[in-house]
């Protein structure tokens, strides 16, 4: 393995992180909340570490392959979370480092699971940093790196492939850095539009920015105890729509930009995504209507919650833990389905679910007619067997890791099965709030440090789609030359 390249790139990420920390530093000065020192210190530490890695690990060759791509991605995210946790810890507003780490991982992986019991007591700059990590983590820090730095090798695609969610990755433009730039451009423009629309709805500027970051990255950190519930219906609808839009494959937006409307709107994944969301919304509406006796409220609440859970954002406008079991179960299923591939959302991804179901259909046909040759089509093109196998393998591995984490978290004495199950599902799929003791009104603070670390790794595994973290932790990755 090209170790120098791995550490060198990690150094670049740390330098970039030091730059990103300037934003909350500015916010801290603007609001004079006294938190500038922790941010400055963290930026200095990040820059110093990054500088040392850059100087000591100048790579001899620029070559790297799939393995380096995975390891760079995993290491970058882990380092970033470790360093990103320092402002919370140094400011003593989150006194335990494990808690601060959990909160930061939750931020970068766009989970939105929090250990804070009183979020409104936090300093503005820390709240800003928390939500800003959502925004950066949503599209990806390495995508950002590729967008701002000149490409060193044709093989950089391995890093992006490891970071971008979805079974396959399509380039928008021949050059990778152009692709990354276009993705970030779409991302920034959509975020700004959301901020403006929220401002129109009378939401204060700081709240608009923070909530837009949260929905753009499909993260879900709020700054109010009741999340979004306190804002106007207009603002709730704006956030509903934008969460949903950020859960769409960004390649489709690019196709719309260059005028290829037909294939974009005919996309199988988009249709399945919309179909699942509408069905879930309808079922929940019918199920919860007796609780509210008002069609407008029912639709708003169910649309918001479906959009929030399916895109794995995790905002809430109501304590959905109080809903009937039927609705709660639908939400749990939506957690696993997740958003579209190539979006900022998490979960299994709609495209994988569609491919799995179509594979099942082909297998059924094959069982009844063993000599039959069936092909699985997706987005109008036949899918190769290798892709189908990798999707099935991914699903199996996903469930196995889920079961293992559930087992580890069940060691907790004070939590019931529903809470543990939903906590693991909500962290692994990058949603945030779960049911029971980790419901939207409560937090993860009562879990032990051990469980918090397990859940933190769950979030990283879920955001980076398993493999990078697994390869990072595999000793043979490091012992072999």
């Amino acid at each position: 393995m090209n170790r120098k390249m791995v550490f060198y790139t990690t150094g670049q990420i740390l330098l970039l992180n030091a730059l990103l920390l300037m934003l909350p530093l500015v916010v801290s000065f603007l609001y004079a909340d006294g938190c500038w020192l922790p941010f400055l210190l963290t930026a200095l530490i990040s820059a110093a570490l990054g500088g040392v890695l850059q100087l000591t690990c100048k790579p001899v060759s620029n070559d790297y392959y799939a393995k380096e791509g995975f390891v760079i991605t995993a290491l970058a995210w882990l380092t970033l979370s470790l360093v990103g946790a320092l402002p919370f810890f140094l400011s003593r507003q989150i006194p335990s480092y494990v808690d601060a780490f959990f909160e930061t991982v939750s931020g970068f992986t766009t989970t939105g699971a929090s250990i804070l019991t009183d979020v409104e007591a936090m300093s503005k700059s820390l709240l800003f940093w928390r939500s800003f990590t959502h925004w950066v983590g949503g599209m990806g820090i390495l995508v950002l790196l590729v967008a701002v730095l000149p490409t060193v090798s044709g093989r950089t695609i391995h890093v992006l492939r490891a970071e971008m969610p979805g079974p396959t990755m399509g380039k928008l433009r021949p050059r990778l850095s152009d692709t990354a730039k276009i993705l970030y451009l779409i991302y920034v423009v959509m975020t700004v539009i959301e901020i403006i629309l929220l401002l129109f709805g009378g939401m204060p500027l700081f709240d608009s920015i923070v909530h837009s970051f949260g929905s753009a990255g499909t993260g879900g950190f709020g700054i109010k105890a009741d999340s979004i519930a306190g804002y106007s219906n207009y603002c709730q609808w704006v956030i509903t729509v934008f969460m949903f839009l950020f859960g769409v494959n960004f390649n489709l937006y690019f196709m719309l930009l260059i005028g290829r409307f037909r294939p974009a709107l005919k996309s199988d994944e988009l249709r399945a995504y919309v179909g699942i969301a509408l069905t879930a919304m309808l079922l929940i509406s019918v199920n919860i209507y007796p609780m509210y006796h008002n069609l407008a409220d029912t639709l708003r609440l169910s649309a918001f919650q479906v959009s929030s859970i399916m895109t794995t954002t995790g905002y809430s406008t109501v304590n959905f833990d109080a809903w009937p079991d039927f609705s709660r179960t639908i939400l749990i299923i939506l957690m696993f389905i997740g958003a579209s591939a190539g979006s900022t959302g998490g979960g299994l991804k709609v495209s994988r679910v569609v491919l799995l179901l179509r594979t099942v259909r082909r297998e059924f046909q094959h069982m009844l007619h063993p000599r039959s040759i069936g092909s699985v089509k997706f987005e109008g093109k036949p899918v190769e067997n290798a892709t189908l196998v990798s999707v099935s393998t991914y699903f199996g591995l996903y469930m196995a890791i889920f079961a293992l984490m559930l087992l580890l978290v069940s060691l907790e004495p004070d939590f019931d099965f529903t809470s543990n199950f939903s906590a693991v599902a909500a962290c692994f799929n990058n949603i945030g709030p779960g049911l029971g003791l980790v419901g939207p009104a409560l937090s993860y603070t009562n879990y032990s440090d051990f469980s918090k670390l397990v859940l933190s790794f769950g979030m990283l595994l879920g955001r980076l789609e398993l493999y990078p973290i697994l390869f990072l932790l595999n000793p043979s990755t490091w012992t072999k030359k």
């Binding site: 490409t151 090798s153 044709g154 380039k171 190769e384």
Partner: protein, 453 residues
């Protein structure tokens, strides 16, 4: 520039590598999904899987608004058709590989005009031209022409007892009383752009420029120039062999072609009446000897099998054939064969790639003042020789060369003024209207002013 390459075989892949290294936006189009995914993993390009004559696929590859469309699939007809479609869909220029000898002369120019193909490329013909050059010049030497044959550049490996060895370069010109310039030296793995105090050793590979007359004089005084090759044996009746035989016949050489396919032999004897066509397996050494290998001046191995070409070339060399040429397509094999002493090795794909890259550079510079006219890669592609046309005054003109702040590893090797070649020294200067040949190691020159620090 936005470039689309369809047909990602040997030539296509080599081309993709060169074009991405030049910094172009390249899209690869092929109907083999596995190949496309390997390529997108190795190069910074966009891959599109599909049929190159399907309009939807072409649109997906971004043919609208692309600057150049290159079709190098194995089929001439497919190449022509996809170029035609690409042009109609909005590509600015098109390059098609067309290699069937039947599509030549009048029919080629007619089709080219009707289908609006900007540049047809015939790899086999290019290769034949190159082989022909080598056969007509001394052994152990690669020859390239600049400025419409006014300058020649040769690459040769020095023997231990070469008269060039052990003398500072600055005194060489006087010793041989010929006007020439040694512009690049490869010693072991390192490349030198030598200065006046540099001394050559045996085993060095050198590149040397001179005008044809001076070169003749020099080679004669070095004892390298002997009689021209007249009896030539070609192994393998490929298209390259056909073109090469045609050229050799026109200069009065006697040519023997050996191929193991009877149909090909019949066809060759029909189209090339003056050639001796032998039907047999050239891998049997006895057959080669029976057909007079020992009395030949040159042996050219052009079969489709790299290994066979290399081995039989060694055999021919051991039978005292003076000139041995081999076609080797795989880069790794070519390097090994070269290390073992085979000096004339040709790779079709590298040649085609060079021609197209040269064309792309010319396209790119067609609006600029300094045009690149010829591009030639030497020393395994580590040095580039470029020919610029100087149209107007700039920072490099009318200043004596010794006062110009030229970058390290760049050398002005020749100036052509009023059709007269000049091998420049420090007092010469460039004036508008000149053609200038520049050698660059490790620099990518886009215009002549790029040579300045």
């Amino acid at each position: 520039m936005k470039i689309i390459v369809t047909g990602c075989g040997k030539i296509g892949t080599t081309l993709l590598a060169s074009l991405t290294a030049e910094g172009h936006d390249v899209t690869a189009l092929d109907n083999d999904a596995e190949l496309i995914s390997t390529l997108t993993d190795s190069y910074d390009i966009m891959g599109v899987c599909g049929n190159a004559v399907d309009c939807d696929t072409l649109e997906e590859a971004g043919v609208r608004g692309s600057d150049l469309f290159v079709a190098v699939t194995g089929s001439d007809e497919l190449n022509m058709l996809s170029c035609f479609l690409a042009k109609r869909l909005g590509a600015l220029h098109t390059v098609a590989r067309i290699r069937n000898p039947e599509y030549s002369g009048k029919s080629l120019s007619f089709m080219r005009q009707q289908l609006d193909i900007t540049l047809p490329v015939n790899p086999e013909k290019l290769a034949a031209q190159e082989l022909f050059n080598t056969l007509k010049f001394p052994s152990n030497m690669k020859v390239e022409t600049f400025s419409r044959r006014n300058f020649l550049m040769i690459e040769l490996k020095l023997k231990e007892d070469s008269p060039l060895c052990g003398i500072p370069l600055s005194s060489l010109r006087n010793k041989f009383r010929a006007n020439f310039l040694i512009c690049a030296v490869q010693r072991g793995d390192t490349i030198h752009i030598p200065r006046g105090d540099f001394e050559l050793h045996g085993g060095d590979k050198i590149a040397l420029t001179a005008n044809p007359g001076e070169l003749h004089k020099l080679l004669k005084s070095m004892g390298l120039l002997k009689k021209q090759a007249r009896d030539i044996m070609i192994l393998g009746g490929s298209k390259t062999a056909f073109y090469l035989a045609q050229m050799l016949l026109s200069t009065g050489s006697s040519v023997t072609i050996i191929d193991k396919d009877k149909a090909i032999c019949h066809e060759l004897s029909n189209t090339l009446p003056g050639v001796m066509v032998i039907h047999g397996d050239g891998a049997h050494e006895q057959l080669l000897v029976d057909e007079g290998l020992r009395s030949q001046d040159a042996f050219v191995a052009l079969t489709g099998n790299d290994e066979q070409n290399i081995l039989l070339s060694f055999y021919a060399a051991s039978e005292q054939v003076e000139k041995v040429l081999a076609k080797v397509n795989r880069v790794e094999l070519a390097t090994i064969a070269e290390q073992m002493g085979l000096s004339n090795i040709f790779s079709l794909r590298q040649m085609v790639s060079n021609v197209i890259v040269k064309y792309v550079r010319a396209l790119e510079n067609s609006s600029g003042s300094n045009n690149i006219e010829t591009l030639y890669k030497l020393m395994d592609g580590r040095i580039e020789a470029l020919e610029f046309k100087v149209d107007e005054r700039s920072d490099v003109t009318e200043i004596p060369l010794k006062e110009l702040p030229i970058k390290k590893d760049i050398l002005l090797t020749g100036i052509l003024r009023n059709r007269k070649p000049i091998i420049p020294n420090g007092d010469d200067m460039i004036v508008p209207g000149d053609r200038v040949i520049v050698l660059a190691a490790g620099h990518r020159l886009q215009s002549l002013t790029d040579i300045l620090r």
